[in-house]
Amino acid sequence: MNALRLTAEQHRVIVGHCLDGLPDEACGLLLGPLEFGVPTGLVSTVRPCRNADASARTYTVEPRDMLQAMRAAEASGTEIIGVWHSHTHTTAYPSETDVRQAVDPQWCYPIVSLRDGDAVMRAYRIVDGEIHEVPIDLVR
């Protein structure tokens, strides 16, 4: 994926879900198409999920929400291509925990920092413990 392509509405849903989750971290899943087994960066659906940790410092996507997302992806011919979460006290950069627990090297990991009031979103891939920033393109 050269860039994560979000519509303005998808961006708004992600940031809104992060703000709604305060003071806890919020999280959600991205669905989109694959090409030759690799996410294209296009996002067909953003799915806000529950943070099973209910914590300001950690998140775990509620497994039942993950199950529903996997079924929705299958029904729409897409796949889960990433997970976003908020950082309530730190910058929009993956923490050691984020890197250690990264699930899939093909996934995109947008992080929304709420530390400074205005939301700041940046996105990454995490491959073998290495962090690679992915540009976010806002598309119509």
């Binding site: 971290e25 999280c27 899943l29 694959l34 087994g37 940790d53 914590s55 410092r57 950690t58 998140y59 775990t60 996507v61 497994p63 039942r64 993950m66 199950l67 996997m70 299958e74 796949e79 889960i80 997970v83 979460h85 950082h87 309530t88 006290h89 730190t90 993956p94 923490s95 925990t97 984020d98 627990q101 990264a102 699930v103 899939d104 090297p105 093909q106 990991y109």
Partner: protein, 92 residues
């Protein structure tokens, strides 16, 4: 008895790229034994060193998490759908 096992994208490379595998077994433990017998690369992702379920994996039989059933002893019925999900977590 055949059941369908759905795999997340990250595990499919260990199963010849398949998203769904038909597996034989009367319990989740039987199914996992068949699955890792055919696809040995899945073992480290599904099972802990002590043979129990790996802590970073969630397994559902239809709509039920096996941790709230009988774990690997959970009995299966013909046509059950098993979904394997990675635990997705992190945080600052």
């Amino acid at each position: 008895m055949a059941v369908a096992v759905k795999l997340p994208t990250v595990l499919r490379s260990h199963a010849d790229g398949q998203a769904s595998v038909s597996v034989e077994g009367a319990t989740i433990g039987d199914v996992f034994a068949d699955l890792v017998g055919r696809f040995p690369g899945l073992r480290a992702n599904l099972l802990a060193d002590d043979g129990g379920l790996h802590k970073f994996v969630n397994v559902y039989v239809n709509d039920d998490d096996i941790r709230y059933l009988d774990q690997l002893e959970t009995k299966l019925a013909d046509g059950d759908e098993i979904t394997i999900l990675p635990a997705v977590a992190g945080g600052a």
